[in-house]
């Protein structure tokens, strides 16, 4: 990594800091709120009633994991695999990863790359910003959970082990890395940020729906293996199983492959 990488990364972070802080606080607040909700159910002893409220087909589809979810730990963990949170974080990764395309579009790239900066610097900058921004989001989410659990866990509630949240955050980090990498591969050849973001967003949505379909409909199960979300397994973690390192490896592999393609394409293209 060169001085150019750090200068570009600093420039990028300074431009998006308000968004990162705002979004991070929102996510932390959401985690804190979930602890409040879980504490309320725990105090009211309402988890059993909650599972009764679920339609039978949902209970059948989710299997025994639904019981794990209908607990203090399950509700608290929800923030790490809630569709809104996943959409937000994957969206953030796509937005950050498409910065090089945005710079090509606005022609800032002419000003930057006419200086002693390499194209690799520009891509490495994006990787750094992805890692930095992703880590910040997860750190704030974990902080929100920790603050909530520390101040609001009702007596007698089965407080989950800190390792569960670290594992959930790790899984989330892996899926974010995968989409960051895929977006870098797409953006490296794009001339417009909206086009790159649109393509990456549609891919992410399609992959999410495919994974959902695979979980709900047996014939689609094999095909759903091509979706990165297929390897984002959180329920087993909530049920107390250890983190599946293979899944993390696959997701990180997708991210690394995407980033590598991005580096090669960006280095070879005309700007």
């Amino acid at each position: 990594m060169t001085t150019g990488t750090f200068l570009l990364a600093r420039h990028s972070f300074s431009r998006i800091r308000a968004v990162l802080i705002g979004l991070g606080l929102l996510l932390a607040g959401f985690q804190f709120l979930l602890v409040q909700v879980a504490a309320y159910f725990a105090r009211e002893n309402a988890f059993d009633q909650l599972s009764v409220l679920l339609p039978e087909f949902v209970r059948n589809m989710a299997g025994p994991s639904v019981l794990g979810f209908m607990s203090f730990g399950g509700i608290v963990s929800l923030g790490y695999f809630h569709p809104v949170v996943i959409t937000t974080l994957v969206g953030l990764m796509i937005w950050i990863a498409t910065e090089p395309a945005g710079e090509v579009e606005t022609r800032f790239v002419d000003l930057a790359l006419s200086r002693p900066i390499t194209r690799h610097d520009a891509m490495t900058r994006s990787v750094l910003v992805l890692i930095g921004a992703g880590s910040l989001m997860l750190l704030l989410m974990l902080t929100g959970t920790w603050v909530g659990l520390t101040c609001c866990t009702p007596a007698g509630a089965d407080r989950p082990a800190p390792g569960l949240f670290v594992s959930l955050a790790g899984s989330l980090a892996a899926v974010m890395a995968a989409w960051g990498g895929v977006s870098l591969a797409i953006t490296a050849a794009a001339k417009r940020r909206a086009a790159a973001g649109g393509v990456a967003g549609v891919c992410a949505l399609a992959a999410y729906l495919l994974d959902y379909l695979g979980r709900a409909w047996k014939p689609a199960q094999t095909l759903s293996a091509i979706s990165p979300f297929h390897y984002f397994e959180t329920m087993p973690l909530v049920m107390g199983q250890p983190l599946d390192v293979r899944n993390i490896g696959i997701l990180m592999g997708v991210g690394t492959l995407g980033a590598t393609i991005g580096y090669i394409r960006f280095a070879r293209r005309d700007i």
């Binding site: 001085t3 150019g4 200068l7 570009l8 420039h11 431009r15 710079e103 606005t106 022609r107 800032f108 790239v109 002419d110 000003l111 930057a112 790359l113 006419s114 200086r115 002693p116 900066i117 390499t118 070879r268 005309d270 700007i271």
Partner: protein, 305 residues
């Protein structure tokens, strides 16, 4: 410091092809240190592509480009430490102030910025501090162009590559910019500027290169180009005269002939015409200074042929 004996820019059979379209066709050129070189051509002729190859933003299909002997592609970072660049299209972020923009770009240049030189640039281009503290989105086109000029000049690079530098500048600021160019030349730095404003090129450039449909069709000192120009000659007679019966001298083209005034266009030396006029009652002869435009228009118009 510029390495002795090496041209500031060397283009060696540069070709850039997009599918079946040639943006550049075997362009070879040398620009010497301390020179102000005007790179001319109509829109889409290949000026900006050439500049982008020099900056390694576009990769040549074949041929090579060098800056002070350094390969612009293989050792692009080294080459670009010697370049100050003003793009034709300025990609500043609207949400940044002018000051912050210059600061970021100065850091990326990795060269120490002389504060007094930067201040002088602000003064010359009429960019007061209060303007620099505003967001760039509040700037007019001319203000953005001035900011662009400052970022290109502030690092005191040995080679300045300027793409349409005065586009959007008012006449006063154009004047300030020309003075800046003169100073740059006095300091021995090289300027490679693309333009289609011919009077500007004529005024500030030492040599010009004209690119047409990707080919370099003319490279010449500005003074020599002027000599190539067909001169308009107006001859006023004391009394009515008839056009010569034995024909006009070679290179003479009749624009308008009246009994007491002849308007001619003459290519080449005027000697034969003056010999012909010797026996006639000439009262006055006007030969205005030819303009670069007169020659270049011919080169431009030949593009279609």
């Amino acid at each position: 410091m510029t390495p002795d004996g090496l041209p500031a820019i060397r283009l060696d059979h540069l070709t850039k092809q997009y599918g079946r379209l040639f943006a550049l066709k075997g362009v070879s050129l040398e620009v010497q240190p301390g020179e102000i070189f005007g790179f001319l051509g109509l829109n889409g002729a290949g000026k900006t592509t050439t500049i982008r190859v020099l900056l390694d933003l576009v990769r040549a299909t074949s041929g090579r480009a060098f800056v002070f002997g350094i390969d612009c592609h293989r050792r692009g970072v080294d080459a670009r430490t010697r370049i100050g660049y003003l793009p034709g299209e300025l990609g500043f972020y609207g949400d940044m102030t002018g000051e912050a923009t210059l600061d970021v770009l100065a850091r990326l240049s990795r060269q120490r910025i002389d504060a007094s030189w930067q201040k002088e640039l602000f003064e010359r281009l009429d960019l007061p501090r209060e303007v620099l503290r505003k967001k760039v989105r509040e700037y007019s086109t001319g203000m953005k162009r001035k900011l662009g000029i400052v970022q290109a000049f502030q690092s005191d690079a040995n080679l300045l590559i300027l793409d349409e530098p005065t586009e959007g500048l008012d006449p006063l600021m154009q004047e300030a910019f020309y003075e800046l160019l003169m100073r740059t030349r006095r300091e021995g730095r090289t300027v490679f500027m693309s333009s289609h404003v011919l009077p500007e090129v004529e005024r500030v450039c030492d040599r010009i290169g004209l690119v047409r449909q990707g080919e370099l069709v003319l490279v010449s000192p500005v003074a020599d180009v002027r000599r190539l120009a067909a001169r308009r000659v107006r001859i006023l007679f004391r009394e009515a005269v008839s056009p010569p019966r034995d024909g006009w001298p070679d290179g003479c083209e009749v624009l308008e002939v009246t009994p007491r005034v002849w308007h001619l266009r003459v290519r080449g030396p005027l000697g034969d015409l003056l010999a012909k006029l010797a026996s006639l009652p000439v009262e006055d002869i006007e030969v205005p200074e030819p303009h670069l435009e007169d020659v270049l228009r011919r080169y431009y118009s030949e593009s279609g042929s």
